[in-house]
């Protein structure tokens, strides 16, 4: 477990030789020991094709590789940070919300249209995810940013969770999501409750929700 939350807005990561870590470029606020930061042109793991994939998908957040021996503190924009432990699960998160993650995690890009076809793409547009999202799989931990505090809501079969698309941060596990709309005549005449669209997540896993409806 390399990440330790120092406060709600700062995490400390332990870097040991031979283990790489990736973080958003410029997110380091301080370090001790011998640590090097190299800009990662590829925006993460994988070869040239992965890089092109991310560029095309718009999920190429500028990353840097952190290597060496010491401890590094990360923080960015005063945003709240949540450390998410992964134990073989797959985490879906927006690239720009990803502050830092273990090199042991497999990074990938997921086309939202794959999960629900056209509706998947519409969902991505509504929730501000775009057409693609970043996935992290394997064992390790990742530090994710959000505006305001984060709460974790468990999802279990038969008990789906509905989330405001603007407050959605990330989810992991075997979760299917679909956009459910409660659009009625009231919304058409401008008397909506402001909750016309919701992401419905079902399956088993957990979803992370931020205490705000603002983007980063």
């Amino acid at each position: 477990m390399p990440f330790r939350e120092l406060s709600g807005k700062l995490v400390e990561a332990r870097v040991v030789p031979g283990q790489r870590m990736f973080s958003q470029r410029g997110a380091m606020v301080g370090y001790t020991g011998e640590v090097t930061f190299t800009p990662n042109m590829q925006g993460g793991q994988g070869g040239l094709m992965s890089m092109i994939g991310r560029r095309v998908a718009g999920e190429a957040a500028p990353l840097m590789t952190v290597e060496g021996d010491g401890t590094v503190m990360f923080g960015h924009g005063g945003h709240h940070i949540q450390v998410i432990e992964l134990d073989g699960d797959t985490l879906c998160v927006e690239a720009d919300r990803l502050l830092a993650f273990d090199g042991s995690l497999q990074q990938g890009t997921l086309f939202l249209g794959r999960d629900g076809g056209v509706m998947g793409m519409v969902r991505g547009q509504v929730s501000g995810q775009g057409l693609f999202t970043t996935t992290l799989a394997g064992k390790g931990s990742a530090a994710v940013m959000a505006h305001g505090g984060i709460i974790q809501l468990p999802i279990s079969p038969g008990r789906p969770v509905h989330v405001d698309p603007q407050a959605y941060v990330a989810h992991f596990g075997d979760v299917r999501n679909k956009l459910s709309s409660a659009l009625g005549w009231r919304d058409m005449v401008g008397r909506g409750s402001g909750e016309a669209f919701q992401l419905e997540l079902s399956g088993s896993g957990a979803v992370f929700v931020q205490a705000s409806e603002e983007k980063l």
């Binding site: 709240h80 969770v161 909750e195």
Partner: protein, 214 residues
């Protein structure tokens, strides 16, 4: 009866038991829910047509939605800190912009505040909440609860005022003097003075107010 619970300091979790259980919440403040929920915008937010007309005229626009259903609903708004207030028959005065959620059994209304309101940048009216049940207030930063007793009146910056409760008289006081007019003011030209017996909620942040400029 709806159960209010804080999830951290910035998220409010309300458990509804179905049936007639309902809460009133700020429009669009739901961030997640499980179970079955229905959201309906309430016309005006007041009681009946009279309340609606009052709201329109007073500009104390509290756009609220009614949430009904069974399950747990989570509310949050722009990472504001949340404080829970339990009312058992008392009256709570609160700025409309600081009210996140109220129990369905509570009545909300509008009251005239006079000059104080104008200095707060919130107009001349404020919202009142009455009845038995819980209400959730939000503030920019965690709100502090200041007690007022007959011997210790309290002065509050209009921009930091969130809510008050109890038997309090409020008056508006100004420290405008020669220096203020010369543009050498301390930025603390106006205060609200509370006298009597009760509590005042103050946030560690100031809204943009008329008084803050001078």
């Amino acid at each position: 009866m709806a159960q209010f619970r804080l999830e951290g300091t910035k998220v409010l979790a309300v458990t509804l038991g179905g049936g007639g259980d309902a809460v009133k919440a700020k429009n669009g403040s739901m961030v997640a829910y499980d179970g079955e929920m229905a959201f309906k915008k309430m016309s005006g937010g007041g009681e009946g047509v009279r309340g609606m007309v009052t709201r329109r005229i007073t500009g104390e626009q509290l756009t609220v939605m009614e949430v009904k259903g069974q399950g747990t609903c989570y509310f949050a708004d722009r990472a504001a800190d949340i404080a829970l207030v339990r009312l058992s028959g008392e009256k709570l005065h609160v700025e409309a912009s600081n009210l996140l959620c109220t129990d369905g059994g509570l009545r909300t209304g509008t009251s005239f505040t006079g000059l104080r309101g104008a200095s707060q940048g919130n107009g001349l009216f404020t919202t009142t909440v009455e009845g038995t049940g819980q209400a959730a207030l939000m503030s920019d930063g965690p709100a502090v609860l200041l007690r007022v007793t007959p011997h210790t009146p309290l002065q509050v910056d209009p921009g930091a005022y969130v809510a008050h409760q109890g038997n309090l008289r409020q008056s508006f006081q100004s420290g405008v003097n020669f220096r203020t007019l010369m543009g050498e003011g301390s930025g603390e030209a106006f205060q609200i003075r509370f006298e009597g017996e009760g509590v005042v909620y103050v946030q560690p942040s100031e809204r943009n107010t008329l008084g803050g400029e001078v």
